[in-house]
Structure formats: structure tokens, C-alpha cells
């Protein structure tokens, strides 16, 4: 009986190719839209999370100049000095670490290979403020920091480009016009937000960069990481007060520096991501619904013809359950086919679009199964239940159906 029903279902699919195709198409669109949207949504969410993680947590970034924004640069505002770092570290409570940052673009050379990257002049505190860990080697020695020694800690990308798989520790690379010994290797953080490579960097002692690369003692950025659980607002207020005093700002004068709180950014971005995820989910649900309505329309439009057909089958001696089994198989085959094509299409679309949009591709088995199951259910429900109603009719009524 199963074999016969399979044969009849197959014949029915084949002779109604257009209807079968449209049904499958509805499921394909529903399934692939949902999977693609959710996959991309999760990729984008991950990208934003990476960006937040890359900034470091509980971090205050202090830059000269006024509020960040178009046309409001650091022009006219004095930079910081190394002494500011000492002052903050010793005079401010609730602080875990303070690091200066001087960043410059350079070309580095090893043997016949060269690579354009950026050097960051800082202190060992930078490892704490920016969440860096060492994969191999060591941090700076105190005397190296004090003397501005030619030693460097390199990121994973720089290591790959200059040394390939070889061990770089103890080797000399040329930075701008001086030689520099590689003493450490940073653990990879991977791709940051919006495709930025966080591992493409070299750390040197602050004084080394100031003297040999930047040629000035200015410090562009201060990174202040707060202790877990400390009150960000009060730390920020104390920091501002301290800097105002050190920069001799009179009462009523505007700040000529700004303090950026990464936790605020993180909260803002998290909120945006949540809204985006909800929105994508809603759009995906609508497309699934549209796919479902498409299937329903096709099935209901064909119900008149199918009712007469069922009447004929019953009249020539088909049992009710044989007719039902045939229609069930038909619906399941179409739904399964549409679901599988939809999953395949979604995989291709997700990979391609993730590339184009620069977000990571995260395969999510759950949403694949969910979309597949839901669309299959729609296909089966709208394919099977009208047929069941028809099969329960008297053959005569089914034959008379107009």
C-alpha cells in the first residue's frame, strides 16, 4: 500500500509540475529567507560584540581636544605627557591600570620582507587596559621602558607576514630606521569590528616611540581601566577634575580633553544590536508567513480539481486512507524538497552576504532545523488537510464538486 501510494504521489507531482514547483518555491523562499536573515543577524551581532570586547571593558579613553565629532579635532589642545600617567596612577582611586598610547604608521622589515603596520608606544600597563595576553616571550623590563630600549612585542599578523611559521623571538626587525629585538608575541585577538585586524600591530616602550618614531614627547591617548565594580561616574568625575587641574583650566573654562567611556559605548551598541536582531527576526517571520500564504493559496486554488480527482479515485475503489496517504506523501515530498533547497540556498546566500558585509558567518543548526520544520509543517498542513476534508466526502459529492 505504501509503495502504491508513493507511485501515485510521484505521478501526481509530475503531472502538476507548475503547482508542485510553486509550492516548493514558497517553501524555498520562506526557509532560505529566515535562515539567511538570522545567520547574518547573528554574524552582525557577533561583529558588534567583538568590537566591544576589542575596546576593553571598564575602559576610559582620554584624548586631547573637545567632544569627538566632525570638525572637532585635537587642534590647539595640548597633548598629554608621561607625567600625567604617573599622576593618574598615584592620585586616583578605583583604577586598575593607566597606559599611555602613541600610535604611528610605519613600515617594518625583516630580511627581504616588509610590512606596513602601526607601532604603539606604551608601557606594560597596556596589556591590562587593552586585554592583551602574550602567546610567547616576555613583556618589557623596567629598565627597557626607562631607557627607551629597542625591543618590541609583535602581533600575530606582523609575525605571520614577516616570519611565516618561524620563531621570531630574539630576532631583529627594522622599524623605520632602527633595529629592534622581538621579545614577545601577542596572543591573537582575531578580526575586530568591521573587519579591522586587531593583530596587525607592534608594541614598543613609550620612550622608544617618542624618540625614534614620533620625535616628540607628546602622548596622544591615555587609557584608564577601572577596577571591577568601581563607580564609573565618580572615577570619571575625579579624572576630569585631576586633568583640569594639571592642565590649568580656570573655573568656567571648557575641558580641552574628552573622556570616552567604553561601557557607555558598549551599552549603546548592545541596545542597537538588540533592536537589529529583533527587527531581523520580525522580517524573517514575515517572509516565512508570506511563504506559508503562498503555499496555502496554491493548495486551496487546486482544491476544486483535487476534490473531483479524489471523487474519481474513491469511485473506482480507492480506500479513504489510501487517498490520504498519497496526499500526505505528496505534501511531505514537496515540503522536504523545498526545505532542503531552501537550506542549501540559505547557506550559499549567507556565506556570500557575510563576505560582502564583512561580518563573520556563523552556522546555526537550530535556526536551520526550526525553519525546515516550520515550513514543512505549513506544506503538510495546507497540502494534507484540504485533501482530508475531500476524502471524507461522499464520492458522489466529491464528483459533483464545482
Amino acid at each position: 500500500m505504501l509503495w502504491n501510494s508513493l507511485l501515485l504521489a510521484w505521478r501526481s507531482i509530475r503531472r502538476n509540475l507548475l503547482r508542485s514547483f510553486l509550492t516548493v518555491l514558497g517553501i524555498v523562499i520562506g526557509v532560505s529567507a529566515v535562515i539567511t536573515m538570522v545567520t547574518l543577524g547573528q554574524g552582525a551581532t557577533r561583529a558588534v560584540q567583538d568590537q566591544i570586547a576589542g575596546l576593553g571593558s571598564n575602559l576610559l579613553q582620554v584624548r586631547p581636544g573637545q567632544r569627538l565629532g566632525a570638525g572637532m579635532g585635537a587642534a590647539g589642545a595640548p597633548a598629554f605627557a608621561e607625567a600625567d600617567v604617573q599622576a593618574i596612577a598615584t592620585q586616583l582611586g578605583g583604577i586598575r591600570a593607566v597606559a599611555p598610547e602613541v600610535r604611528r604608521g610605519v613600515t617594518v622589515v625583516y630580511a627581504a620582507r616588509n610590512w606596513s603596520t602601526s607601532v604603539t608606544g606604551t608601557t606594560n600597563a597596556y596589556f591590562e587596559t587593552s586585554n592583551w595576553r602574550l602567546a610567547a616571550g616576555r613583556k618589557f623590563e623596567e629598565h627597557e621602558e626607562r631607557a627607551g630600549a629597542a625591543v618590541c612585542v609583535i602581533g600575530a599578523t606582523v609575525r605571520r607576514e614577516l616570519f611565516g611559521a618561524a620563531d621570531p623571538l630574539g630576532l631583529q626587525i627594522r622599524v623605520k630606521d632602527f633595529s629592534c629585538e622581538v621579545i614577545g608575541l601577542l596572543a591573537s585577538k582575531g578580526q575586530g569590528a568591521f573587519g579591522m585586524d586587531q593583530d596587525d600591530m607592534i608594541l614598543l616602550p613609550l620612550r622608544t616611540v617618542q624618540r625614534r618614531v614620533a620625535g616628540s614627547t607628546r602622548v596622544n591617548t591615555l587609557l584608564v581601566s577601572m577596577k571591577e565594580g568601581s563607580d564609573a561616574e565618580s572615577v570619571k568625575a575625579n579624572l576630569t577634575q585631576l586633568l583640569r587641574e594639571r592642565r590649568h583650566l580656570a573655573e568656567g573654562e571648557d575641558d580641552n580633553f574628552n573622556v570616552l567611556d567604553t561601557r557607555q559605548i558598549a551599552e549603546t551598541l548592545s541596545g542597537t544590536t538588540r533592536i537589529m536582531t529583533t527587527l531581523l527576526g520580525a522580517v524573517a517571520a514575515v517572509s516565512l508567513l508570506v511563504g506559508g500564504i503562498g503555499i496555502m493559496n496554491i493548495m486551496l486554488v487546486s482544491v476544486t480539481e483535487r476534490t473531483r480527482e479524489i471523487g474519481v479515485r474513491l469511485a473506482i475503489g480507492a480506500l479513504e486512507r489510501e487517498v490520504l496517504l498519497q496526499f500526505l506523501i505528496e505534501a511531505v515530498v514537496l515540503a522536504a524538497l523545498g526545505g532542503l533547497v531552501g537550506v542549501a540556498l540559505a547557506a550559499i546566500a549567507s556565506v556570500v552576504l557575510a563576505q560582502v558585509m564583512g561580518v563573520p558567518f556563523l552556522f546555526n543548526a537550530g535556526i536551520n532545523l526550526l525553519a525546515l520544520g516550520f515550513s514543512a509543517a505549513i506544506g503538510v498542513i495546507f497540502g494534507y488537510f484540504p485533501a482530508r476534508r475531500a476524502a471524507q466526502l461522499d464520492p458522489i459529492e466529491a464528483l459533483r464538486h464545482e
Binding site: M1, N4, L7, L8, R11, R15, N16, E305, R308, E309, G311, V312, R313, L314, A315, I316, G317, A318, L319, E320, R321, E322, D394, P395, I396, L399
Partner: protein, 240 residues
Amino acid sequence: MPLISLRGVTKVYGAGQAALRALDGVDLDIEAGGFVAIMGPSGSGKSTAMNIIGCLDTPTAGEYLFRDVHVERLTRDKRARLRRLHLGFVFQGFNLLARTSALENVELPLVYRGEGASARHATARAALESVGLTGWEHHTPGELSGGQQQRVAIARALVTQPSVLLADEPTGNLDTQRGREIMELIARLNSERGITVLMVTHESDMAAYAHRIVRFVDGRVAADTTNPHPVEPPATAGAA
């Protein structure tokens, strides 16, 4: 015992004031090998009687014995099995499956019987040959004329070797010439294969082929006459 025996068969549609007595105490016996035309005006109950005899419908009251089996006591599935084994149907509107080849249409009852593919093909081809449609096996109903479609329907009814052929206005959708050809085909099946034929019609031209004519009026048998000179089909070509 007659092949088909109706005893006081009554069929009521609806209930109360709106109740319609489509059949009102019909007694009718049909012997095996008979060729009976059922005639009557619209609403006389002839189609209802046909549906009950065809085991598609059950009487509200009374008894219907088919081969000594009380059909009115059978379940839906048992009646379906009875149709599958013993009855062949031909309808006014042909009722072939659309976009399906003649061969597959004719095969359909055999699929429900569970016959293997090769036996099914051979039997279906033979049935199409017996209605004169050799060479048309792979045409769909849309590619066939009305007369040819009705021949496919007859082949589908014959393919299971039924003991009774039930034809509900088989010539109703055909012109006179095609109608005659179909009637000759049916008459030959009766005379040459001994298939009992029961046919509903309101054209006396077509009823003239039958050996017995039963007239229905208002749900009762008003006249039951033997046709002394039925139209004889011309000698056959190709009927097995």
C-alpha cells in the same frame, strides 16, 4: 437469486419539512448479464438509484443485496473494496485525471488493487485496445476528443474485469454520432463479454440499445418493460 436486488429502498435527503424523498420504496431485481436502461425526468430518483446500486451511497431504509451481500450494512471501506472488485463506472463528464496519459488513467484501478507494473501495463493496453484506442496510450485527456475520452473512461471501468458496468448518462456530453459509437461499444461488452450493464439516460435513442427499460417517476418505479427489439451493435472488430 438476482445479481442486484433492491427491496423497499428509500432515500431521504434532509430532515423535517425540507426532507426530500429521492427514492420511495423501490423494488428492483437485475439478473446477471442484463442490459438495463434507467429513464425518467430530472429529479425522478434515477441517479440516486444508480449511486445506491453502485455502492457509492447507502439507502435510508430498505435493503440492497449485491451478490447476496447486504450492502446497506457495509462500512465505507468494505463498499470501496466491493467497487474495486466488481463495479466499473462511466460518468457523463468522463472524470479522467487531467494531464495524465490514457494509459495511466486506465491503470489507476489496478494500482489500487496492488498489481505489479508489468501486469498493469499489459492489462491497461489490452483494455485500451478493446475500446479501439491502440496508439493513443500516451495522450492526455486534453489531447483527446470527447468520444475518445469516454472510451478511455470505459477502458478504465473494464480493466478490472467487473461484473457490472454502471454508466451515468455516458452519452450526455457527446454528439449523436459519437454517442452511438459509445452505445455500440457498451452493447458489445454486454453481448460479447456478458457484463451486466446498468445505464441512466434520458435519450430514448440510447435506451433503445438496452434489453430492459425501467422508468422512474417521483422516486418510484413507474414502468418496467422489456425492449422487444433492442438495437444490435454491428459485428465486432477487435473485441476480445
